[in-house]
Amino acid sequence: MRRQIPLLLTFLTGVAIIIAFFIPHRPFNEVQDILIDWAIIITGFALLLGVHSLLRKHITHIQRKDSGWGFSLILTFFFIGVFVAGIISAFQYKGYSLTPGSSLYFVYDYMVIPLSATMFALLAFFIASAAYRAFRARRLNATLLLVAAVIVMLGRVPIAENAFFKFLTRFSDWFMFIPQMAAKRGIWIGIALGAFAMSLRIILGIERTYLQ
């Protein structure tokens, strides 16, 4: 029973969503909306589990004075600080805690966004190092990749306005829209069929790993 009921629920939910996809009439069209509402409610409560997991891990680190426990202390301190800022802002702005001028907005604007932007900016360096390794012309495949990449880069960002770079721009457009797009669509078809097969396995109860 411990397994049968979840499998039955999965089957019924899957079938209901498939029916709703083909029948726009009430009540079938409402199934998806109801399930989305449920998912939002469950996700809200699940966040408490996440907070519990995070704080338990770091408070244990602090209590045991594990290596790097100072970072756990900083994390716990800022967690509480941002939580308090959020509560105060919610009271001040009648639930709209991210209103410009609120303390939570300050945290978001002056801490979260710059830190995220910094991490995103690191991507430029990581692209350079990954490209260096990938483009080393040691094998035929890598050489082809290098040639294609150089053509596309020069075509996308031409360094001069002459017939040669105009040709490169046209060639890189052709390269991106025809061979590159063909390969991409091939992968997409494979992914769609793979997802279809996986969904069928789950709905029919053949794939059960996620229900452990």
Binding site: P24, R26, I191
Partner: protein, 401 residues
């Protein structure tokens, strides 16, 4: 007459003008209204919606070129009163009234064009329609036919594997064969294994596929008594992962080695998550890293950091834009469908493998349709027979819905 002359007299009552009043005449020119307005029930919907179509005003992009908007009005009877319900920009030839109060009741519509000086045209003709809910989405016949066909293939190969026990061939997938090698290497080096499920939610099929792979990896780490670390972006994924890993450790006969705290929640901020996982990689220096699931811009940040700590990396995602990053930075990459096939491949269960065979047969059908479409397109382009029309019909059939 589309042009109406109006005279406005503005008298400036300034001290100077007291001696000589100034009279100003402004000519207001109304734009041409839209024509041929028709209203109809919006097809393939749940009702309570009526679609309007019209021919644009003569002054929209031509003539006076003064029309910037079309205002739509609705009334419960032909005589009115007509209430304003919405606006669309110049060049648009339709409007969907999504706020129809009742199905099977006739509503009347008219449309006026408007200039940037807020001068409205005369009203268009009045069009009427009733809304109805539909019992079938006729634009989705293509999905239904191919869905049934593919399901038939899956059922056929499933029954063959189940009843006849036919052994099905599946090609080698290097990334999945390397799972044991990666966990073994970590064990030899005395380092933990890191599994990152990306930033997907439990409703993403790639995240579910990642969790099935996690189950197999956890079994290996349990057998080798190697630590498995898994930071999470979504608390629901974390909870599911904890249960899966716990079950795998129990099945491997090592339930006491399972540590729930190693499968923990990190954050739901994309780059905060990337920074957190990078920090864990630098501190813990895992011997093997599995990047499986949904990834966006953080894919290369994670993969390059993993490479810098010398870990063997096996990635897998269904995000096509992130695949080049994983292929460049990781040792093995499961490309899309390989990831979905992972649980079948690793379990070697004939029934599970049957679905992969069904997938391959579906691919043959798709390839056949592409070849037929290409031939029709070429022949149609050369104006040979009716192939041009057939090709267009085929494309339209696939693109609707």
């Amino acid at each position: 007459m589309n042009v109406l002359l109006a005279f406005l007299f503005l008298i400036q009552q300034s001290p100077d003008s007291l001696q000589s009043d100034t009279t100003k005449v402004i000519e207001v020119v109304r734009p041409a209204p839209p024509t041929d307005v028709i209203a109809m029930d919006t097809p393939n919907d749940e009702g309570e919606s009526i679609a309007l179509q019209w021919t644009i005003s003569k002054d929209d992009g031509d003539g006076l070129n003064s029309v910037i908007l079309y205002n739509v009005f609705r009334a419960p009877s032909k005589e009115g009163p007509f209430d304003y319900i919405g606006t669309v920009g110049a060049g648009r030839t339709g409007y969907d009234d999504q706020d129809v109060e009742k199905d099977k009741v006739t509503y009347y519509y008219k449309v006026k064009s408007q200039t940037k000086d807020k001068v409205e045209s005369e009203a268009s003709n009045v069009a009427s329609a009733q809304s109805f809910p539909q019992w079938f989405h006729h634009g989705r016949w293509n999905y239904l036919i191919f869905g049934v066909l593919f399901t038939f293939f899956f059922a056929f190969y499933l029954s063959r594997a189940k009843v006849k026990g036919t052994k099905l061939f599946i090609r080698k997938i290097a990334g999945l064969d390397a799972v044991e090698e990666a966990v073994g290497r970590s064990t030899e080096m005395g380092k933990p294994v890191l599994f990152c499920p990306g930033i997907g939610y439990l409703y993403h099929i790639a995240t579910i596929a990642a969790l099935t792979i996690l189950g197999k990896i956890a079994k290996k780490t349990a057998e080798y008594e190697t630590r498995l670390i898994m930071p999470n972006y979504d608390p629901l994924v974390m909870t599911a992962a904890q249960e899966i890993v716990k079950q795998s450790y129990t099945e491997a006969g090592r339930p006491d080695n399972f540590n729930e705290k190693d499968i923990f929640y990190l954050t739901q901020d994309q780059f905060g998550f990337a920074a957190g996982v990078d920090g864990i990689m630098i501190r813990e220096k895992p011997g093997a890293i599995f990047l499986q699931g949904v990834f966006y811009a953080e894919s290369l940040i994670l993969a390059e950091t993993g490479h810098s700590v010398g870990a063997i990396q096996i990635a897998g995602t269904d995000r096509v834009t992130q695949l080049p990053f994983f292929i460049s930075a990781c040792d093995y990459t499961l490309i899309g469908e390989e990831m979905f096939a992972a649980s079948s491949y690793l379990s070697r269960d004939p029934v599970m493998l049957g679905t992969i065979k069904g997938e391959d047969t579906s691919k043959v059908v798709i390839i056949a349709v592409i070849i037929i479409g290409t031939i029709m397109g070429i022949l149609g382009g050369l104006n040979i027979g009716p192939f041009g029309t057939w090709f267009l019909n085929l494309v339209n059939w696939f693109t609707r819905g």
